[in-house]
Symmetry: C2
DNA sequence: TTGTAAGCGTTATCAG
DNA sequence: CTGATAACGCTTACAA
């Protein structure tokens, strides 16, 4: 490990003061062109690299922010990160991604770990327990923004999709195609805490589903609300609960999947029962995540405006970092219908 | 922005010297229990948080490493990151993830940006051009490890899968099931640089395919090697090249997809031609990435030992950081067959 | 056991 | 235009 080259090395090699070197390298106005040139070439020769740490220490900012992403496979939030990354870059900030990666204590523990990271703030994607994370943030005095629609408690400025309206639009799309027996495939959260928190969005999307049916004058058939246990296992083949309903002879001509991820096993369940998708049963999802185009048929779904959400998260966070006081409230974004083969007539 | 609480604040509030505070908080042996307690409680009251920067500056290390991940959707490398994260934690290192996220200049540019990040080294996943990245690393004097099998040039210690052997095993699995007309679905890289670099693994897997056939005494039918243009668009419905082959009447009873990602459109192509999977045509992929369980039928594939690869990448990098000289060579890991419905008889 | 003081590598403030 | 010099907040000899 060769000793690092510092400003002092450069200054003595160039025969100037260390302040001059700093100015020359930092594009300050008050340096003669000649000196600047000389210093630059000497610095290059010596392989001088400024120390990020010293600079940060002196100037009091790391110019870096963090994003914490949940554990259950890299999902819909990937485009959020991408946009956040660009937005941060534009403001001269580095963006670091921290996966929860099965850390004991979950999101809150990861936040706590950020005490040892040179970061000025954090965007937490999917926060099962805003209260716990809030405590962690307070302990280490770190500004945070939530991108999340899984928890009722709002202890941060929180960015999420307009779930109720989105679900309503999804179901209205099915109705417009003449579907009348529309099942709602939901996740049953059980007692233990999950990545889906208390599942606020489940309730919201359910309400949207009911609204669409009621508005169309279709009575809600409660036997079409199907709750699937253990919804987090992506590798499962079929949904036994849906299968059981079909076995009982429940008539279904469309399925609204609460999340795109639930669609893959749903398609397999239907096919195994001899039903064709979309001919016999149409399918709509929610999220427009990567899985939507991988499954067959490609899934019609409600897209969340991920790029905008990511950009806005960064904007809010930077404002917080600059000292602005922000309201602890939800900021909701409109979803849009993406039509694909699973609802094609 | 309240002024930050420093050691000095704590020391004066607790009525001791700043060194004592530092020792008390840092679990040093030479502090009386009483003092330690008092200092601790004062620090807590004042909300003292040590400055990562000052600490790093003083002790000369950031204790953080980086991973650069490619751009094309979060794919197979997600478990690599997860394992790397744990391994780094175990050694007291923070791990930061940096997506390429469409940055102009690609991977090399991201590396260059690391000059402004307090990181001691970088693991680059998927490095289309090892030469360019090498230059960037040299410029900013950053140790790097590659996790990659896309480039022939080896300018870093490089971790990859044993592609040839894996491909051979995949095809042997098909042969063992009685398949004889086995197509190889490949990606055509074209002229512009892509995430798949010069596609070393394409060649290696192709060789494995040939070996398996030859070993079984099956003549390689060159018309069964199908190259697909523009393979990076995950949302495409079908592979026109495969479709054209079927149209021409080429007989196929199995398809070896060079990468799992190619399987989803392959299944759709086959189904659209009235072929059943796996009854008429069996399918094998490579990578065992998330997509493998999402498509229908779930895909038999060759799994790379991601966790081991991630752990080993961290191990190598930390050794490099500690000053050890490492060979610039490939470290190859064995793949294993994961049997799923796409080859079930 | 505790306190004093010397850096770590920058940048910014002042004089020259 | 340039050069000393003082922070930034911490750790660690060295002294007491």
């Amino acid at each position: 490990m060769a000793r690092r080259v510092t400003l002092i090395d450069v200054s003595s090699a160039a025969g100037v003061g260390i302040a001059t070197v700093s100015r020359a390298l930092g594009d300050h106005p008050d340096v003669s062109e000649a000196t600047r040139e000389r210093v630059r070439s000497v610095a290059r020769e010596l392989g001088y690299r400024p120390s990020v740490t010293a600079r940060a220490l002196r100037s009091g900012g790391y110019h870096a922010i963090s994003v914490i992403v949940p554990d259950a496979g890299w999902g819909w939030w990937e485009p959020v990160i991408r946009a956040a990354f660009r937005a941060a870059s534009d403001e001269g900030y580095q963006l670091m991604v921290h996966p929860v990666a099965g850390i004991d204590g979950g999101t809150a523990a990861v936040v706590e770990g950020l005490a040892n990271v040179p970061t000025e703030g954090v965007i937490v994607i999917s926060m099962p327990d805003q209260d716990a994370v809030r405590d962690a943030c307070d302990r280490i005095a770190l500004p945070a923004i939530a991108v999340d629609d899984t928890s009722r408690a709002v202890r941060f400025p929180t960015i999420s999709a307009r779930n109720r309206e989105g679900a309503r639009a999804a179901v209205e799309h099915l109705i417009a195609q003449g579907r009348r027996s529309i099942a709602l495939l939901r996740a049953e959260l059980g007692d233990s805490p999950t990545d889906w928190g208390d599942g606020l969005f489940i309730d919201e999307r359910t309400i949207g589903y009911r609204e669409a049916l009621e508005a169309a004058g279709i009575a809600v058939d409660e036997s079409l609300l199907i709750d699937c246990a253990d919804p987090f296992d992506e590798s499962r083949e079929i949904w036994p609960e849906l299968d059981a309903a079909l076995e009982r002879g429940v008539h279904i001509d469309a399925v609204f999947c609460l999340a795109d991820l639930m669609a893959a096993p749903a398609v397999r369940t239907l096919r195994a029962r001899g039903l064709r998708v979309p001919d016999d049963v149409a399918l709509v999802g929610f999220d427009d995540e990567r899985a939507a185009v991988l499954i067959d048929p490609q899934l019609t779904t409600m897209r969340q405006p991920y790029a905008e959400m990511g950009r806005f998260a960064v904007e809010l966070l930077l404002r917080r970092i600059q000292g602005e006081q922000l309201e602890e409230r939800r900021h909701e974004f409109d979803t849009s219908l993406v039509e694909r083969a699973s609802t094609r007539r």
